[in-house]
Symmetry: C2
């Protein structure tokens, strides 16, 4: 247990929920479901039940340091890893693994996004325990594969091979497939052989550091040169110096798709990446006309299937809307059909170009 | 000219434009058309071209004193008449006439709403001059009748009788009809005999005070007892004492429909009562898709025929709306089909009952 560590990656920008989430306060820091805890806090709460609090690390962008300290007063400053630039997941994870190795070379680590929703917490905890036991005993890179419930085209899929052990839910990996088209996604789901890559990984630090040595040698060497700086006053300036020159690459592409020792654990713990307004809508309480009002008061007439997210204390009086997103924050009001939400990124770009950066 | 006076009635609550206009800041105090001047200021500007500024009086509710002084720094405190209660137009006008009589018993007065729009200002000024000349010479109660351009069912209509003089546009009045049904309104418009009652009246103080003596004797006596208080430090406390017990009645019902010396001037100076979002929409600049954005920035996609009124400096990003009102102020966001705007009053009531008075 004391060898078990957790790295929560909390550097996302969350422009898909603009203006409700903004670069100043991205999705992981918001209490989307009105529980009183942000997605990051809920993630921390979940892991604090199985990992010692002092072994939980938060990796994020420098600009979010204060937000993290504010939301997670339980952790020490040394448990916050600050990336001076956005370089995707591989450099972030490599940094975290080097830092943890310097504390405990026998560390067994779970790496997780900070902004996902887990509905079946008991099943989740049971699954993570099994996963960490497995990597403790085997030099494996273990990914969490989520049993798909719909032919989602926005996710990566992992195809399973044979079971590593007839009594477990852990399989060898046959292939990785990024964002299939709808037709292919339907075949994937029906086959029963494909699982969603939810971005949660388990391994011993030694296992993953060896993989970095093999597949990302140059980057790995760079981080190893800081061995005596990790967990000292010099760590940040060392990171600030080397980080910007790191390749911008995901852990999936850098390691998982190349390494031979990757297994997948088939899991089903009510996972959602809360990646769209549609998923927020799906997981929120609804009124009799199936409208969702996030933390705000609303008075609705001839309205159904809408999701309304305006600031706390504000009142929305709406007549005659069906299947819309109504979101407001700071100085921006967004109204958009739910079915058109993939255009929000374009709206953000247009706003930046045509109106001004101060609205982003 | 020095006998010419003007009373601008500015006591309305303007709940039809909630939440854009509120009881704290009703319609007449708002710059609906982005000209830099509120409707009240525009009304004042118009009359200041033909009436000496010191002869222009503003009658309103006590609660709007500061707003009036702020918006019209040109006038003195004694030119603001403060009603301690809402009692419709008859008591308000009777108060103003007594006050003006105490200053100038030969005063010739035009009484006007504060929150209407006049598009043809030159024609308006010409018309008002003719009207005031006429009442100066005749003991007549002259109403302004607007040539109707559509069968509006929300207005009162004045039917004309014969001309008082073949060279003028002034007629004797045959009948007054309040809010006809659509069928009748169509007949009215086609006949050419009916004009809209726009709530603008011209008379000598002596003429209207005699009419009050005849038709509202008790109320008239009450106001006459204050003769020595008007335009002194004691005026307000006298008014505060008698006003609440006045009958709540309109000048139309109290006097115009009863007096025999009522004439109507047929006018056509681009008048709008700006009584609906539809009329705001009609009179505002539109983008290529016929959307109106009142004093706010907007980025619109697949949108047409909407009117957007959110606070200055705020940005509306809207996709997929047609023919809607989007209005916001303080802590309320309203979205409503333009065709359903008559329900806004109900929304205000519902908000008060179900949500709380602080949102009104």
């Amino acid at each position: 247990m004391k060898n078990n560590y957790c790295v929560i990656m909390a550097g996302g920008v969350g422009s898909r929920f603009w203006p409700y989430s903004t670069e100043k306060r991205p999705k992981q820091f918001l209490d989307f479901f009105g529980t009183g805890r942000s997605l990051l806090q809920m993630t921390f709460d979940r892991f604090s039940k199985i990992i010692p609090i002092e072994n939980i690390f938060i990796a994020s962008n420098s600009s979010y340091k204060n937000l993290i300290m504010e939301q997670l007063p339980e952790i020490k400053e040394n448990q916050i890893l600050l990336e001076p630039a956005r370089r995707n997941t591989a450099p972030c994870i490599l940094y975290a693994m080097n830092k943890i190795e310097a504390i405990n070379p026998n560390a067994n680590v779970i790496v997780t996004p900070s902004d996902h929703l887990i509905l079946k917490e008991e099943e989740f905890i049971r699954t993570v325990k099994v996963a960490m036991d497995y990597t403790q005993k085997h030099d494996k890179i273990l990914t969490m594969g989520i049993k798909p419930h719909r032919p989602e085209t926005a996710y990566g899929y992992i195809q399973i091979d044979e079971k590593v052990d007839p009594n477990s839910n852990i399989y060898k990996v046959k292939t990785f497939t990024e964002k299939p088209n709808l037709e292919l996604a339907k075949i994937f789901v029906e086959s029963g052989e494909f699982f969603w890559n939810c971005g949660m990984f388990v391994w011993k630090v030694q296992t993953i550091l060896s993989a970095f040595d093999n597949f990302m040698g140059e980057m790995s060497n760079k981080f190893r040169t800081g061995k005596c700086f990790y967990n000292t006053q010099e760590e940040q300036s060392f990171i600030d110096r080397i980080y910007k020159n790191c390749t911008n690459i995901s852990i999936d592409y850098a390691i998982l798709e190349k390494a031979m020792n990757v297994d997948v654990m088939a899991a089903d713990f009510g996972w959602s990446d809360v990646g769209t307004w549609g998923s927020i809508y799906e997981h929120s309480d609804k009124d009799v006309e199936s409208n969702v009002s996030l933390q705000c008061k609303s008075l609705l007439y001839d309205c159904k299937d809408n999701v309304i997210a305006i600031p706390d204390g504000k009142l929305a009086v709406i007549q005659g809307l069906e299947d819309y997103i109504i979101a407001e924050a700071d100085n921006v009001l967004l109204i958009c059909k739910k079915s058109e939400e993939q255009r929000i990124r374009q709206f953000v770009n247009d706003t930046q170009v045509k109106i001004g950066k101060e609205y982003i």
